[in-house]
Amino acid sequence: MSTTVGVAYDKARAEGRAALVGYLPAGFPSVDGSIAALHAMVDAGCDIIEIGLPYSDPVMDGPTIQAAAQQALDAGIRTTDVLRVVEAVASTGVPTLVMTYWNPIERFGVDRFAQGLYDAGGAGLITPDLTPDFAPEWIAAADARDLDKVFLVAPSSTDERIALTTAACRGFVYATAVMGVTGARETSSDLAGPLVARTRSAIEASAPGLPIGVGLGVSNGAQAAEVASYADGVIVGSAFVRALLDHPGDLDGARKALVALTEDLARGVRS
């Protein structure tokens, strides 16, 4: 049975705060290591988990996530391993999404993957290189199983594209705060606020109640607090990966770093 991310957003909303969405690629530093790391993030306060499916040609990812995904691929991660990680994380009760480039899903079989994800208790997919106008097969497979469909909007998106995208989303819409690839950034973006405002007005017309998560560049509690002031969810990826990369072979140190980062971010979304 899968749990939609809507449940986590509703809970956060009821508590008058934003939801914290944490990302790690499956299989990094190992399949079991990624499960342990994600469990630590759940225990320390992530409301929603995004599990990356490592891919050979990740055009939206910066060097940090590329390095982690490459490490997972070099160790031989398979799509079925990713579903095993989903199952282990979703069993905690925290809504669990897979973030994936499109080709591995198409190759696995769209319907077969949707069923595998559903059986593993996964909530749905975030698709960084698949827009709703090229997603009829995924939309049909997701709708048949009530899976979340998280598409992205960008500062460059026209109002028409934002309307089209939000109307196709289920769970939340992913607003990319900057024009660029994934990776921690020193300063917060001045593009995110206006994008969220435009997305908010599209949602009022076409998808009432759809939460907006903001990602790309957030790496600490202060940035999380700023984003939480105008968004429903704060998405953090590269900073978690960095915490693991900085502690190679040191499981205890890595775990402590992940927990400290999660707690800092969790305070941020509550301030």
Partner: protein, 409 residues
């Protein structure tokens, strides 16, 4: 520069070739959709604007040396047992067909008011062409090139640098052309407001396959006319090498509506298709999505891109343009592999029989044409000699053991 003659071979509004959902499309991050839409609109307007077309054609004639000649290769024909005609794109400025595409896209960049271009390159030919067009039009230019390719094509790196371009070695993934495309796309996501991406081949997300075709289709239009002038009839067969496939689609476009003309695309067979070390994407790959389009891809069971292998950097790409995928699926064109060894033999043969040193990419087309000639003795085969071999002398020197005076290959 005529409008496409037969809608059967053109993309629909969403960039699908061969029917909705089949080949092509636009599998891209939302952040780039606005830029692709802007490019599509600007390109469509330009292609019906006489002043743009006039400027483009003028530049091709007075700067790039186009139209290239159609040359009858008598001694090679004698060897092959068929009449072989060579479309001499190797004589264009910068040494390959690539200059046509790049001048078109760079003019479009100026027209759109952007000041910087980025490009990916494998062999370096597209990078050199991009750097050339950028220098000519006063644009900033950054070229992404796999680290492996910067080593085997050091001469072209130097050429780009001399032309004022910045060459960025790409160290991610397999450090070849596909990774250079990834890195260029990452740059573009962050720079799209002032930067145009000069895509080097007729692949990638819509509108690139159609846009690139519109700038290179003159290869086929010229060749068709020149062949009629020279021989009084159409060729029996045409041949080109296929990596991403821009020189091939440029040639093929001129003959798609001539069903009596057989069409052959020759892919890089590397060490041999059965060794797994090759770049024969259509012949030995499977359908997938790579770099924004659904097409044939070299991939594993999980959809991870598999590294391609070829002695020729320009063909060393695990994807292929979607129109070639559609032409293969419809049966209009045949795509066959040519091994490294056969291509290098053909390079030497053309040099010895005609005094023409081809690019190793184009040598694949020559080698393929020799095979076609066996099946079609006495017939006329028109081959696109897409580039010259100067850039490949390092590879040839090593392969043939050349460079020591007193010896012969």
């Amino acid at each position: 520069m005529n409008a496409p003659q037969d809608a059967q071979y053109d993309a629909d509004l969403h960039g699908w070739y061969g029917g909705a959902g089949s080949f092509g499309g636009r599998f891209m991050p939302e952040a780039l959709i606005a830029a692709l839409d802007e490019l599509e609109v600007a390109w469509q307007k330009a292609m019906v604007d006489p002043s743009f077309l006039q400027e483009f054609e003028g530049l091709l004639q007075n700067y790039a040396g186009v139209p290239s000649m159609l040359y009858e290769a008598h001694r090679l024909s004698e060897h092959a047992g068929a009449r072989i005609l060579l479309k001499r794109e190797d004589l264009n400025h910068t040494g390959a067909h690539k200059i046509r595409n790049v001048l078109g896209q760079a003019l479009l960049t100026k027209r759109m008011g952007k000041t910087r271009v980025i490009a990916e390159t494998g062999a370096g030919q597209h990078g050199v062409a991009s750097a050339t067009a950028a220098a000519y039009l006063g644009l900033d230019c950054t070229v992404y090139m796999g680290e492996v390719d910067t080593e085997r094509q050091a001469l072209n790196v130097a050429r780009m640098q001399l032309l004022g371009a910045e060459v960025v070695p790409v160290t991610s993934g397999s450090r070849t052309l596909k990774d250079a495309i990834n890195e260029a796309l990452r740059d573009w996501v962050a720079s799209v407001d002032h930067t145009a991406y000069l895509f080097g081949t007729a692949a990638g997300p819509h509108p690139f396959p159609s846009l690139v075709l519109s700038f290179v289709r003159s290869i086929g239009d010229e060749a068709r006319r020149q062949c009629l002038d020279l021989t009084g009839r159409l060729p029996d067969a045409i041949a080109a090498c296929v990596g991403g496939g821009s020189n091939a689609i440029g040639l093929f476009a001129g003959f798609l509506d001539d069903p009596e003309v057989a069409i052959y695309g020759f892919e890089a067979g590397g060490d041999g298709v059965d060794t797994g070390r090759h770049a024969a994407t259509i012949f030995a790959g499977s359908i997938g999505v790579l770099h924004g389009a659904r097409t044939f891809v070299l991939q594993d069971e999980d959809g991870q891109t598999v590294e391609s292998h070829s002695i020729s950097a320009g063909l060393d790409y695990p994807g292929v343009g979607p129109q070639h995928a559609a032409l293969s699926a419809s049966g209009r064109a045949s795509y066959l592999p040519v091994t490294d060894a056969a291509a290098m033999d053909a390079m030497a043969l053309l040099a010895r029989t005609e005094g023409i040193i081809p690019a190793i990419e184009s040598a694949h087309a020559i080698a393929g044409a020799l095979e076609v000639a066996k099946e079609r003795p006495g017939e006329t085969i028109l081959v696109n000699l897409s580039g010259r071999g100067d850039k490949d002398m390092g590879t040839a020197l090593e392969y043939f053991g050349l460079g020591t005076a007193g010896e012969r290959a």
